[in-house]
C-alpha cells in the first residue's frame, strides 16, 4: 500500500492550510468529516486506519476541495482511491453497508428528508417521489443479467 501509487507526489506538497475542510460541504453538516485530517493521516502512512473507517465513504465528490487547493492536490481523487483500496481489501464499513442497503431499497444513498422537501418547495420544484417499487424491478432485471 504505497502512497505513491495512489497519488504520485501531490500529497507531499500539502502545507496544512485547511482550505479543503473549510470549504467541505459535508463538514458543515458532519463536523467529524475532516478532509485535511484524512490527508495528514495518509501522509503519515496510517492507511489501515483510513480504509477501515466510515470517513472515506462520506465524501460526496463535489470537488470543492480539489478546485481550491493551492497546492493542486487532487483531494477528491485521493479519497476516492482510498475507497478502491478499501473495496479491494474487502473492508467493511457500517456506513457503506447502510448506503448500499438504502440504494437497493430506495434507489437513493440517503433517505429523503423533511429538509429536502422544504428546499425543493422554496426553489419551486415538485416534491421527490418516494415510490420505490420501480427500483426493485430495475435491480432484479440487472441481476438476471439483462
Amino acid at each position: 500500500m504505497d502512497i505513491e501509487l495512489i497519488d504520485g507526489k501531490g500529497l507531499k506538497s500539502c502545507y496544512h492550510c485547511g482550505k479543503c475542510t473549510s470549504g467541505c460541504e459535508v463538514n458543515r453538516i458532519d463536523p467529524s468529516f475532516q478532509p485535511h485530517r484524512l490527508l495528514q493521516l495518509m501522509a503519515r502512512g496510517a492507511l489501515d486506519e483510513l480504509i477501515d473507517g466510515d470517513a472515506i465513504w462520506k465524501c460526496t465528490t463535489c470537488f470543492t476541495c480539489t478546485e481550491r487547493c493551492p497546492q493542486g492536490i487532487a483531494v477528491t481523487d485521493i479519497l476516492w482511491s482510498l475507497r478502491a483500496l478499501a473495496f479491494r481489501s474487502c473492508r467493511n464499513s457500517g456506513l457503506l453497508e447502510a448506503q448500499k442497503a438504502a440504494l437497493f431499497k430506495t434507489g437513493r444513498l440517503y433517505p429523503v428528508s423533511v429538509l429536502d422537501h422544504k428546499k425543493r418547495e422554496k426553489a419551486g420544484l415538485p416534491p421527490l417521489s418516494e415510490d420505490s417499487s420501480l427500483i426493485s424491478r430495475i435491480f432484479d432485471a440487472a441481476k438476471a443479467g439483462g
Partner: protein, 702 residues
C-alpha cells in the same frame, strides 16, 4: 622560439615539497629543456628573500617568462603578483596541493607526475602572451529606470557618490506604490514624511535630472558607455494624439527599479473580489485608510485572509514576503483607531522574520485574533455582512464570523514596466518575470554587465529592503562610473581567418557579450564578457581562444604529455577542473591530506564549459586513457549553463568514441563542489580503477 628565455623556479616549501618530490632530479632535467635559461631551487619562493631572488634573476638574465613550481596558483597570489614581469608570463605549477601533498604516500609516483606537470607547463608558458589590461573610457552618468522608493534612493546614492543621474519614471509623478500607502510598518509612520525628504533632496541636487512621463525605448552600447533612447510623453490634448519627445543619453551604468504590481484576486472567484463590495485587498485598504478619515474607526468587524493567490500553484507559486506584516500592520491600525474593533487574521503561516516577530507578538496581545485555517469561500449573508466560515485547525472545529470588511492579502507580481523594459533592452527574467541573475552570490546583477536591479523588480520586498537594495545596486554600478574602466585582458579572441560564422559562440554566451560585425563575424564586447570561455568550448573550429588559455596551448600541452608517465600499466587521466569549484576541491584534498592516486593530471579552466570537444577528442587521440571534466552541478554553475554545455559536448565526443569502437567510458563528467575534496579524491580513485579494468587506450601505443 630562440628568443624565449624561461626561468624555472622550484620551491621546496621549507622542505615540505621536497620530502615527496625529487626536485633535484627535475631541476636537472629542466635545465636541458628548450628555452630554459635558468633553474633555481629555493626553500621559500614566496618569502621576501625568495621574491627578490626571482626579481633579480629576471632582471639579470633577461628572462621574459617564468615558471614557478610551488603551491597552488590559488594561493600566495599577492606575493607573486609583482615580479617585475608581465603577470601573464608567470606560470604556476601546482607541485604542492595537487602533487606532493595528495600523493605523499607514493613519492615515486609523485615525482613522475611532477615531471609530467612540469613538461606541460613549460609548453604552456612557451606560448604565453604578455597581455596588457585595456582601459576603456566611461561616462560618469547613471540611468535609473523607475521613480519609486528604490529608484529615488538609487538616484540619491549615485549622485552622492559623484555621478550625474537621470531618473526616469513612466508616470507623471514620482513615488511609485509607496506614495499610495497610508502607513509603513513597523513603526506605523506615514510614508509622506520620508517621501517629502527624498523629493526635496532630488530637487536640490543639480546632478539629478528627473524625467517623468518617460520610458526607455531602446538600449545599445556597452557598460561604461550605454546609449539609451528615452521617450517622454507630454500629456496630450484631446485634439492631437500623444506628443512625445525622444532623447538619447549616454550612461555608464543602469539601475532598473521598475517595481511591482498587485496580484488581482478576481480569478479566485470564491472570494468574490469585484463582486462583493466589502471584499477588498491590502492595497485597497491602504488607499481607503489614506483617503477616508473615518475608514479605520468604522470597521467594527474585519477579517484578513492571508496567502490569497500566493504560494498557490495555480496563481503565484511564491511567497511575497510582505503580506503577513502588511495585514498585521493594518490590523494594528484598526485597533489603534478603535480598540473595540474586532479583527481576525485567517492564516496559513505567519512570516515575520527578525525584529518583526515582536510586532506579531504585539498584535496578538492587543487582541487581534489569529486563526489557523484558510476560508474556502466568502458568502454575503442576509444582513449584507460577509460570512466567513472556516475550519479552525487549532481548535479542531468550524468557526463562523460575520465581517463588515474582508481584506484579502494578495501578493506582488512583476510590473508591466519590468516586462516592457525587459523586451526593450533584452534583460533576463525568471519564470515569474522578475529580473534575476545568480540570486545567491550576485543578487544585484541582471545577466547583463553594467545593468543592476533595485527594489521589487527583482523580487517582492518591503520598503526597508528596497532602499537597501538600491544602495547595493549603487555600489555595484559605481565601478562603471569612474570615467574609465580597466578591463582584464583575458577575454576571448576570435580568429576571423578560421571562423565559419556558425554563430554558436553568439548563441551560447550566457551574458550576450557577442554581436555581429558588418560582415557577420562574431565580435566580443570585452566590457560585457566575463571570460568564462564557453565560446572557446563551443567553437567547432577551435577559432576562439582566451587570453590566458589558448587552443594552441592546450594542444601543445597534449603533445608533450607523456601518456605513460606513471609507467606502462597505469592509466593517465587528463582532468579539466573548473577554477571556482573542482580545482579548489582538488587543492583542498591535498591540504587535508586526503590521499589521491597520481593518475590524474589537471588543467585549470575557468568553467567546465570552456573545454572544447576537439581538445577532448585530441586527448584521446594522443593516448590519454581517460578525460575527466569536473565542474559545478547544473544549477550552481557560476556561468549559468556552462556545466550543462560541458556535459553535452562530452556526450558528443562519447558518441564519436562509440562509433570508433573505443570505450565511451573514457570520458566522464563529475560535479565537484568547492567544499567536497573527499568526492574529488574518491572520483579520481574510482575512475583510475575503472580505466585500469578497461585497459590502455588503444591509441596510446602510437
Amino acid at each position: 622560439m630562440s628568443d624565449i628565455k624561461i626561468g624555472v623556479f622550484l620551491c621546496t616549501c621549507e622542505g615540505e615539497i621536497e620530502k615527496t618530490i625529487a626536485l633535484d632530479v627535475l631541476a636537472q632535467e629542466a635545465s636541458g629543456r628548450a628555452g630554459v635559461v635558468s633553474v633555481r631551487k629555493d626553500s621559500s619562493l614566496c618569502s621576501e628573500r625568495g621574491i627578490s631572488a626571482i626579481r633579480e634573476d629576471i632582471d639579470k638574465l633577461g628572462l621574459d617568462r617564468v615558471l614557478i613550481a610551488a603551491c597552488s596558483p590559488a594561493l600566495k597570489t599577492r606575493e607573486f603578483a609583482d615580479l617585475g614581469i608581465n603577470k601573464y608570463m608567470v606560470e604556476r605549477v601546482n607541485f604542492r596541493e595537487q602533487c606532493s601533498l595528495c600523493h605523499a604516500d607514493n613519492s615515486e609516483h609523485a615525482t613522475k607526475k611532477a615531471r609530467a606537470m612540469l613538461g606541460m607547463s613549460l609548453e604552456k608558458v612557451r606560448h604565453s602572451k604578455a597581455l596588457e589590461p585595456v582601459t576603456v573610457p566611461a561616462v560618469k552618468t547613471a540611468l535609473v529606470v523607475g521613480g519609486g522608493v528604490a529608484g529615488i534612493n538609487a538616484a540619491l546614492d549615485l549622485a552622492a557618490a559623484g555621478a550625474e543621474v537621470f531618473l526616469i519614471e513612466k508616470n507623471p509623478h514620482l513615488g511609485g506604490k509607496v506614495s499610495e500607502l497610508h502607513r509603513y510598518y513597523p513603526r506605523l509612520c506615514p510614508p509622506s514624511c520620508g517621501l517629502e525628504l527624498m523629493y526635496s533632496k532630488l530637487e536640490s541636487n543639480p546632478r539629478i535630472h528627473v524625467l517623468t512621463s518617460s520610458e526607455v525605448e531602446s538600449l545599445s552600447g556597452s557598460p561604461g558607455h550605454f546609449s539609451v533612447s528615452i521617450k517622454t510623453t507630454s500629456p496630450g490634448t484631446i485634439k492631437s494624439p500623444e506628443e512625445y519627445q525622444v532623447r538619447t543619453i549616454i550612461a555608464g551604468a543602469v539601475v532598473v527599479a521598475t517595481g511591482w504590481e498587485p496580484f488581482d484576486p478576481r480569478p479566485l472567484t470564491e472570494y468574490g473580489y469585484g463582486r462583493l463590495e466589502k471584499v477588498i485587498t491590502n492595497l485597497d485598504f491602504e488607499k481607503s485608510a489614506r483617503e477616508q478619515g473615518q475608514f479605520l474607526a468604522q470597521q467594527k468587524k474585519t477579517a484578513f485572509i492571508q496567502c490569497v493567490g500566493s504560494r498557490d500553484e495555480r496563481h503565484l507559486p511564491y511567497c511575497s514576503d510582505v503580506c503577513c506584516m502588511v495585514s498585521i500592520k493594518q490590523a494594528l491600525l484598526l485597533k489603534q483607531a478603535n480598540p473595540d474593533n474586532e479583527v481576525i487574521i485567517y492564516y496559513n503561516d505567519i512570516r515575520t522574520p527578525g525584529e518583526y516577530e515582536s510586532v506579531y507578538r504585539q498584535a496578538r496581545t492587543s487582541g487581534i485574533q489569529f486563526v489557523k485555517g484558510i476560508p474556502s469561500e466568502l458568502r454575503q449573508d442576509e444582513q449584507g455582512k460577509i460570512s466567513v466560515s472556516v475550519f479552525d485547525l487549532m481548535a479542531g472545529e468550524r468557526t463562523e464570523f460575520a465581517a463588515d470588511l474582508v481584506v484579502l492579502a494578495t501578493g506582488m507580481k512583476a510590473s508591466r514596466g519590468t516586462t516592457a523594459l525587459k523586451d526593450a533592452i533584452g534583460l533576463a527574467t525568471n519564470k515569474e518575470n522578475f529580473i534575476e541573475s545568480h540570486l545567491q552570490c550576485h543578487p544585484q546583477d541582471s545577466q547583463r554587465e553594467g545593468i543592476f536591479t533595485a527594489g521589487c523588480c527583482r523580487a517582492p520586498m518591503d520598503v526597508s529592503r528596497s532602499i537597501e537594495s538600491a544602495g547595493a545596486a549603487t555600489a555595484k554600478a559605481l565601478r562603471y562610473l569612474q570615467g574609465e574602466m580597466a578591463v582584464s585582458p583575458d577575454y576571448p579572441v576570435v580568429d576571423i581567418l578560421k571562423c565559419d560564422r556558425c554563430k554558436r559562440c553568439v548563441e551560447e554566451c550566457p551574458f550576450k557579450a557577442y554581436s555581429y560585425d558588418d560582415k557577420g563575424f562574431p565580435q566580443v564586447d570585452i566590457l560585457k564578457c566575463r571570460a568564462c570561455g564557453i565560446c572557446m568550448g563551443g567553437c567547432p573550429i577551435g577559432a576562439i581562444s582566451l587570453g590566458e588559455l589558448s587552443i594552441e596551448q592546450l594542444s601543445g600541452m597534449l603533445d608533450v604529455l607523456d601518456t605513460s608517465y606513471l609507467g606502462e600499466d597505469e592509466p593517465v587521466i587528463l582532468g579539466f577542473l573548473c577554477k571556482n569549484d573542482a580545482y579548489r576541491a582538488a587543492d583542498d584534498a591535498g591540504l587535508k591530506g586526503i590521499p589521491c592516486p597520481a593518475n590524474l593530471i589537471s588543467v585549470m579552466v575557468p568553467c567546465s564549459g570552456a573545454v572544447n570537444g576537439m581538445i577532448i577528442a585530441e586527448a584521446i587521440s594522443k593516448g590519454v586513457d581517460g578525460v575527466l571534466l569536473a565542474g559545478c552541478a547544473d544549477n550552481q554553475c557560476h556561468y549559468l549553463h556552462g556545466s550543462a554545455l560541458a556535459k553535452t559536448r562530452l556526450a558528443d565526443v562519447s558518441n564519436k568514441l562509440k562509433e570508433m569502437y573505443l570505450e565511451p567510458e573514457r570520458l566522464r563528467f563529475a560535479s565537484i563542489s568547492r567544499d567536497d575534496p573527499e568526492k574529488f579524491a574518491a572520483t579520481v580513485k574510482e575512475y583510475a580503477e575503472e580505466l585500469k579494468q578497461l585497459g590502455k587506450n588503444p591509441l596510446r601505443i602510437q
